[in-house]
Subunit: 470 residues, 2 copies
């Protein structure tokens, strides 16, 4: 047997590769049968007028992939392989349903966005350049699983000074965003007790609900009153974990007063397996008075799991958040999941650590607070056009207002009407885990203002007024 | 009642804050009782000789936090709060067991590391600067959950050209490293069927085993022969998922021949719920002939879940990996977990996309392949000193060799002995999920060479020889 292989010496594909591909295809087609002996490398080289080394390389690749085998003192033989389907040129792949293109609105009052025009580009660029200039080679190997020490120290200091959080850097776990950290928490808490059940505020950050329940953790929802989660309902819910947003309830903006905080801590202290998850999602932005201190700072019994992210304070795209675990949960993490490697790039960790420790973060927050306050005040002012047709909740903090419309239409109708005027509104109903149709429920809209200009806020609200009232 | 508050006008703490803190502490201490009426803002302002606005701010913060309440036309009253424990200055926190400081060795033959001295600093710095200069504001908002389109396109093209992977960008999910992606896979596969069971090669990448079993997924381990995972054992294992490393078995370096690949695909084709996870962990580094094509490219029935990372090809610290899901698993992901946001910073995604699409990645790989090949060859050469006292497996690829020592000592003794000469060795035993003490087991060491210099390799092996033989 000899192969007449059409070799192209001008091709970019090396000659050995052309020989390899030809023979491989002959074997896969069945043209050369199982156990057939291949020509010796020397004879094939002579026949094809190529160097013997070229044929050697082709054969050795075929051996590596198992198409042929070499028998000592005998030569190369074709291995037995199943008949292969011809490889279709383009495997048909069922298309993923296209990510729905959102119709673009002139005025999008999204409560989920931030003002990205004020991302600290120059600082970030400078810090990332410095970080890569330092040529700290270790930065490119795996770092500590809980996050780099310098970053955890920066976060610890920031949380202590700005939020009254009492913790050691070893209690902090840095991770790739709130979703990842919620997944990790769900794993931790359900490994702690078989009967783990998480009570959630209703309405709440429904993404947390989806993550918990998607991982098979039992959940239940607890109604709110003016002070936040109702302790009575919590008591009879059978839950051992409470997921709450005490500094600024999401999405309603309720500040949980000290008395309710104490009652909640009291609830957690009653049994060993009870814990509180404090999601301090937008505590950085309060426009009146001092920040509301974190619940974690009131806790003396290691009952509060504190979490936060830099998504709102810097940008969602940087994907960094943190957990502060109380000792018992930290021990559980260390014994059960200590093998998880960090999910955040060390370069990013290093940039962020310097951003915080060198005071850029505080200056950035002060700047953003001023920007957001201006927009907040303009929105409140603009809404005066509605007079007593609306009432406002959750003001003076966060990046959205909650507005009740005293109008004889449903929330859906209001959103639909606004959409016709190119105004995108976000209704409160979507933030309920379970929504029982109450008699007195009025259309309620979350008006986000972070990523609109002051002009857009004013004309957007005027437009909305015309749409709603006429 | 009037408060004699020692105000310090030279303090950095604003006056309103001093008033707020004083009254809050009085309430928390119980000095001012429940229902006590506070002085009016006007009278307190006059008394303290501060502006009324200052007292207003202090009261309003106390109201926000729930310490006092305002009654219409009457004034401010202290709310009922539980007696609070005094906040200890330093809450005692049980220290996290310190991350054990590894003794530092002169020669560390770690198979887990890479050559970090060749990280493409200049390119990375240039690309990150360009990325931040482009001021593409959208880059700071949340991107597509599966990863940015440009990055997925770059990965798709790279995998197609270099690994023979057949897929569409919509099948790719970018995530924060292999661990995260393995967690996601474990969730997907166990939500697919209650009786999900993952068969793993033994020895294997034990981190994957820890992650799967840590999430409660059933696993079993399957012995290997010279062609890789034994299909007979797989057939009777009751597993419906096989986690394999066909291009370069981890850690033994076996290349799964075409016949075994077909048999494995055949196994998967037998029932609907069977799938193969192909972890293509270090396919970039092959020093002889062409890369071994991925198993995924042979699969015509959507049975292979392909995964890879940039940890070895670029650096572990960048924390980016990818899954390529076959259509059925992709549909499951879309219906079950479509709410998970991306875990990778969009800035990093953008840098990486350009790094690949502009040809830097290919050049970097070519450079690294040359570096690693040189180290690989030097290690093989250096090991000749051992003559027939050792045999070598898994050469010509990856970043480590597997070396059997034909010496009358145990693996543990060999490692211990080497440690005394400041040589860190990594034994094969640790890579077994279950290790049955075989009669003929010889001490087997994974010799990693990536992060040692050529001189260190030579003197390290000489040192090892002296240690072992004398």
């Amino acid at each position: 047997m000899m192969f007449t292989i059409p070799l192209n010496t001008k091709s970019k594909t090396p000659l050995y590769d052309q020989i390899y591909t030809y023979i491989k295809n002959e074997i896969r087609n069945g043209t050369i049968a199982y156990q057939a002996k291949l020509p010796s490398t020397r004879s094939l080289a002579t026949y094809l007028q190529v160097s013997r080394n070229t044929v050697d390389m082709a054969y050795s690749q075929l051996v590596s992939e198992g198409y042929i085998e070499s028998k000592a003192k005998s030569g190369y033989y074709v291995c037995q392989i199943e008949e292969m389907l011809a490889v279709p040129k383009h495997t048909t792949i069922r298309q993923n349903p296209q990510q729905t293109l959102k119709p673009s609105y002139t005025y999008d009052f999204s409560p989920f966005t931030i003002d990205i025009h004020h991302f600290p580009y120059n600082t970030w660029r400078k810090l990332s350049k410095e970080c890569l200039n330092n040529s700290n080679n270790d930065l490119f190997l795996l770092g500590p699983k809980q996050g780099d020490i310098s970053l955890r120290e920066s976060i610890q200091k920031y949380l202590h000074e700005s939020r009254g959080v009492q913790c050691d850097k070893d209690q902090i776990i840095v991770g790739a965003g709130a979703d990842y950290l919620l997944q990790l928490l769900a794993q931790l808490l359900s490994s702690m007790s078989e009967s783990c059940k998480i009570a959630m505020e209703n309405p709440t950050y429904t993404q947390a609900y989806r993550i918990f329940s998607g991982l098979g953790v039992a959940t239940c929802c607890i109604p709110l009153d003016n002070s936040g989660i109702r302790i009575g309902s919590l008591n009879i819910s059978g839950a051992n974990i409470a997921y709450v947003t005490p500094s600024h309830q999401y999405p309603l903006g309720i500040i949980m007063p000290i008395k309710r905080r104490q009652a909640l801590l009291q609830w957690a202290n009653e049994t060993n397996d009870r814990y509180i998850i404090e999601d301090d999602h937008d505590s950085e932005f309060r426009y009146k008075g001092k920040p509301i201190p974190a619940l974690q700072g009131l806790d003396h019994n290691g009952k509060v799991i504190y979490m936060g992210t830099f998504s709102r304070a810097i940008a969602p795209a940087i994907r960094v958040g943190y957990l502060v675990l109380p000792p018992a949960i930290l021990n559980l993490y260390n014994s059960r999941y200590s093998y998880y490697t960090s999910t955040v790039s060390r370069i990013d960790q290093s940039i962020l650590a310097t951003f915080i420790s060198d005071g850029y973060f505080e200056r950035h927050l002060n700047k953003m607070r001023k920007h957001y306050k201006a927009k907040h005040d303009i929105l409140i002012q603009a809404l005066k056009i509605f007079k007593n047709k609306i009432s406002i909740q959750g003001e003076h903090a966060g990046l959205h207002l909650v507005v009740n419309f005293h109008l004889p239409i449903t929330e859906e109708e209001l959103i639909e009407k606004a959409a016709h005027s190119s105004i995108k509104l976000y209704g409160l109903k979507k933030f309920f885990i379970s929504f029982d149709n109450r008699k007195n429920y009025e259309p309620t809209i979350l008006l986000g203002y972070a990523n609109l200009t002051e002009d857009e806020i004013i004309t957007g609200i005027e437009q909305l007024y015309k749409t709603c009232i006429f």
